[in-house]
């Protein structure tokens, strides 16, 4: 089987590759997105904790 035969998928290339392409994009995004979400949560919480710390210091002064 040649490469072009393989990519042709017996004439069903459009259907086969768009199925797999859609799966790749969708599942890839679902997989990667929590990495960014977690990073942004940590960033937010760092700011929040720093503010709390500052307020605590101000109230004790």
């Amino acid at each position: 089987m040649s490469a072009s035969e393989f990519f042709n998928m017996g004439g069903y290339a459009v259907y086969v590759w768009s199925s797999y392409g859609f799966a790749f994009v969708l599942l890839g995004w679902i997989f990667i997105s929590p990495v960014f979400t977690k990073k942004s949560i940590i960033k937010e919480l760092k700011i929040k904790y720093r503010q709390q710390e500052r307020q605590r210091q101000e109230s004790t002064e």
């Binding site: 199925s19 859609f22 997989f31 977690k38 919480l45 904790y49």
Partner: protein, 248 residues
């Protein structure tokens, strides 16, 4: 019924965070290995179908995705129920973070099914029982996500979501038996039949490997989502403060 104290201790958000952090890489790697093997087998070893030609190779993504869409729904409903009865925060969390993954698999099952239906049935969509009940499953997931997003108090959001998820379980047997109960274009079950599966062994192997791969994907993915969400929900505890401060 009361759960033993060890269950509560084991499922505490802090313990969950530490344990899942160690487990995630194992699931990611075993997912990738099974994925490569499953795709290789599915494209290069599995023979051409005598009726459907090469188009049937959509099955290796379509069928596992459809199985996952139902499996994740059951996980969501059961863990929602556990959260409802025993008030285990981690169970509520698992239900919430499973929903987007389940919705993605449902959408994938519908889209890949459509792309398979066009060349085989001559249409992208028919309003028959199998396709319609799977579409309802997508709406149940989206309803669950929207409902939880609209309730600010996490306790109430978890409770409302769990009730919705449990009621929606009625749809799962409808999806499964739809091909037997109503006349449809969709083919019947080939793998989960009582007698021998009516599928060539070299088609069955990649199908099952892909199904395992998708399960591993789900576990890795749900743990990663849960770890982020846990920090947000437990942000007022000392341990989360320590975790956050130790991150660069």
């Amino acid at each position: 019924m009361k759960l033993p104290a060890i269950v509560h201790k084991f499922s505490s958000p802090k313990n969950f965070y530490t344990m899942s952090g160690k487990l995630v890489p194992w699931f990611v790697w075993s997912f990738l290995i099974t994925l490569v093997f499953g795709l290789y087998y599915g494209f290069f070893v599995a023979p051409t179908d005598y009726q459907q030609g090469e188009s049937y190779r959509i099955m290796f993504v379509h069928v596992p995705a459809a199985w996952m869409s139902m499996f994740i729904y059951m996980v969501m409903a059961v863990s929602g129920g556990i959260g409802l009865i025993w008030r285990i925060k981690t169970a509520d969390l698992m239900a919430s973070v499973s929903a987007p993954i389940g919705a993605a698999f449902t959408l994938l099952a519908l889209v890949s099914g459509s792309l398979w239906g066009k060349p085989m049935w001559g249409t992208y969509w028919v309003w028959d029982a199998r396709l319609t009940s799977e579409l309802i499953l997508l709406f149940l997931y989206l309803g669950f996500i929207a409902l939880q997003a609209s309730i600010e108090d996490p306790r109430n959001a978890a409770r409302a979501g769990a009730v919705l998820a449990i009621v929606g379980v009625v749809n799962i047997p409808i999806i499964h038996y739809s091909v037997e109960w109503w006349s449809t274009l969709h083919q019947g079950a080939t793998v989960t039949k009582i007698d021998k599966p009516s599928i060539h062994i070299d088609m069955l192997i990649p199908l099952l490997v892909m199904a395992v791969s998708f399960k591993l994907y789900y576990i890795a993915s749900v743990l990663m989502r849960a770890r982020g969400e846990i920090l947000r929900r437990e942000q007022n505890t000392r341990w989360v403060k320590e975790v956050v401060e130790n991150e660069r």
